[in-house]
Subunit: 277 residues, 2 copies
């Protein structure tokens, strides 16, 4: 299990302290943390808990939401960068945001439909944030999200688009996240993973359920429970040179309702069968 | 309204005869037909109804579902081609099918996860069907579907992929469908529309609703009710040289429950405001 990382929201009922204990108990070597949970635990206490447990922090979730172009979003991203630096996170995951005026899960009558403009503002915000992150030794990791989230969560929709956005910057400063749920359908995905090479800052695995639940955000499943063929994706990521942690991040009402220890045991078994093999 | 075409499923309660009458009543010059509704009306009677009304048949929906590689699917596509020829349809829309073993809307435990294999079988089936269609003067129109339908309806997910698939064949034999709902999110869409040029066999417009309904198939809305900026897409399609009918195809429970005459009046108004202008 040396490369398995538990993204904290897979066992969402656990606090940071409980998730750290769970990783130790199950022999998981790394953890992906979420900002609000770190804040609830306390940033300094989280640093201590993680260090005492000997865990790596494979990612901090998340910066982003940069499409409106307002200054508050930039300030919040600077705070996220500071936190990632303090935690020694391998990267800060960037979910860039959807169309301005769109609220996830809710009717949004005042939507700004200028998709190209939203994408340009993300590029502009990145130009401001990269130097700040670089000074603090934090790597930003651009995460393309499945196109069904384009309106409300991320106008960054493909790995190719993420690589285009990252291209002006050194790979050690701006990387990309390859999340199987988001990219499995993309006819260009294997070529783009090869192109990504050392830009891959995080490899995240979870399955794409069929049919999708009513809230499509929760359509993620434990590997093997959905439609994704993990072998070609995992092989391509390895051939691109990625040797870092592999994070399991599952948003799923049934998984969240289950006993977190049972979830982690099942994740470990499926990881051994479908990812490590 | 010279270029507006009513896709029959927008006013799904109407039979073919009623939809034809509706088109005449509202001054709509073309209709997109569905095979099962044509069968219910009778193929020869449909030909007569459409001819008497002076309507163009902008498309026949649909062929496809070719990913399993079985012979029955090919036979059914040959029948669809025959029907398209009899109807004088401008194209036969091809929805290529999802992963074998996946049933739309239902748990599908026996899924064949080999996405690359499914895509190869589509290419193979096309090689068999194109000569048959060519002999009958029928143009096949490959329709990329939104990636959220990759598992259950179409492993053809982007316009670029559709153009790659069409490339071995003359443009007048194998074209592509540009449907705003399916392609609006694609960072490459404008470049791929330009690349498509005279491969564009059908331009279909409808909006992408936010939030999506529980059944994501029904997330289509009347233009202006969702998140799509139609102007850049419509301009790109025009600049690519497409001068054919523009079909409005809406799958939406509320639209289907409404009075079809009111739906058609609203579609016309929005078409004038957001597409023709």
């Amino acid at each position: 299990m040396s490369r398995l990382s538990l993204n904290q929201w897979t066992t969402r009922r656990w606090s940071v302290a409980e998730a750290v204990e769970g990783c130790v108990r199950h022999g998981v070597g790394a953890i992906g943390l979420w900002r609000q949970d770190v804040a609830a635990q306390g940033l300094d206490e989280t640093v201590k808990l993680v260090a005492d447990a000997g865990l790596r922090v494979s990612s901090l979730c998340r910066g982003g939401f940069l499409t409106s172009g307002d200054r508050e979003a930039l300030d919040d991203n600077r705070r996220a960068i500071d936190e990632a630096a303090t935690l020694g996170a391998a990267c800060l995951v960037m979910v860039v945001g959807g169309l301005p005026g769109v609220t996830p899960g809710e009717p949004s009558p005042a939507v700004d439909r200028d998709l190209a403009g939203a994408r340009e503002r993300v590029a502009g915000a990145l130009a401001e944030l990269v130097p700040y992150a670089a000074e603090r030794g934090v790597r930003l990791a651009l995460e393309p999200l499945h196109p069904m989230y384009c309106a409300d969560r991320a106008v960054l929709s493909t790995l190719g688009q993420a690589l285009d956005l990252a291209e002006p910057y050194p790979a050690e400063r701006v990387g990309v996240v390859v999340d199987t749920f988001h990219v499995w359908w993309d006819p260009q995905v294997l070529a783009q993973i090869a192109r990504a090479g050392d830009r891959i800052a995080s490899y995240q695995v979870c399955d794409h359920l069929h049919p999708l639940p009513a809230d499509v955000l929760l359509g993620r499943g434990v590997m093997g429970d959905g439609v994704i063929d993990f072998a070609p994706l995992t092989r391509a990521v390895a051939e691109a040179g990625y040797t870092g942690d592999i994070e399991v991040e599952i948003f799923n009402a049934d998984v969240w309702a289950a006993d977190p220890d049972e979830v982690l045991a099942r994740v470990k078994a499926r990881f051994a069968e479908l990812i490590e093999r």
